[in-house]
Amino acid sequence: MQLLRDILDKQVVDREQVKIGKVDGLVAELRQGKPPRVIAIELGSIALARRLGAQPGRWTARLAAKLGGKLQARPHRIAWHKVRDIGVDIEFDMDVRRTKIFAWQHWLRDHVVGRIPGA
């Protein structure tokens, strides 16, 4: 499998086919004497900003922490062993509603979008 070509930047969906985001980062664990193991994917604005450089990454993390609290100061991670299918999208065996990934979308829904009539 070619990680950069086949995994990175692909669409991620949960088991209900809800679009969660793109694979913004890939985390590997370095092990003594054994090949590095892919343990998780990362997604969210912080992971993305880090790809543009260390500085934008720090700014975004600080901004996210300020807006969303300590929990939002790190990129969201989904464990690799939850992966179920790699096709047009990458499907993870999880329910996005039980994560913090959509916290900002929920905040938007509850405080902005949902308050506009007809939403």
Binding site: M1, Q2, L3, L4, R5, D6, L8, D24, G25, L26, V27, A28, E29, L30, R31, K34, P35, P36, R37, V38, I39, E42, A47, R50, R51, A54, W80, H81, G87, V88
Partner: protein, 120 residues
């Protein structure tokens, strides 16, 4: 145990022991090992950006057109010969003498798994 972000390796320059640049990281190859997905190999070449696109014949055709294609410069470095503790500065762990052994001869690219066949 340290964790590193593999995406930061993409396009990084890799230097040989003697400090000579041998190319940029083009691809990270991983294989299933039991329940785990493990990194087995790093591809280092001269056209990092192009490599991501080169599944298309047009990419190589363009390279040929501009006479840029020198595929001899592709190295397949096994996972244990590249130190990626700091993904921004990957370091080769082999001597210059070993390097030619990792050179990719011929066009033995990993054949792509078609995505489009999934729809029916």
């Amino acid at each position: 145990m340290t964790n590193v972000n593999l995406e930061h390796l993409a396009g990084r320059r890799v230097c040989s022991e003697s400090g000579k640049s041998i190319g940029y990281i083009e691809e990270i190859i991983a294989e299933q090992d039991g329940d785990d997905l493990v990194v087995t190999e790093f591809h280092i070449g001269i056209f990092a950006a192009f490599e991501r696109l080169s599944a298309s014949t047009i990419g190589t055709a363009l390279l040929d057109f501009f006479r840029l294609r020198r595929r001899s410069g592709l190295y397949r470095i096994p996972w244990d010969k590249l130190d990626i503790t700091d993904p921004a500065h990957p370091r080769l762990l082999c001597s210059d003498d070993e390097l030619p052994g990792f050179e990719d001869i011929g066009n033995s690219r990993i054949s792509p798994a078609p995505l489009h066949q999934r729809d029916s």
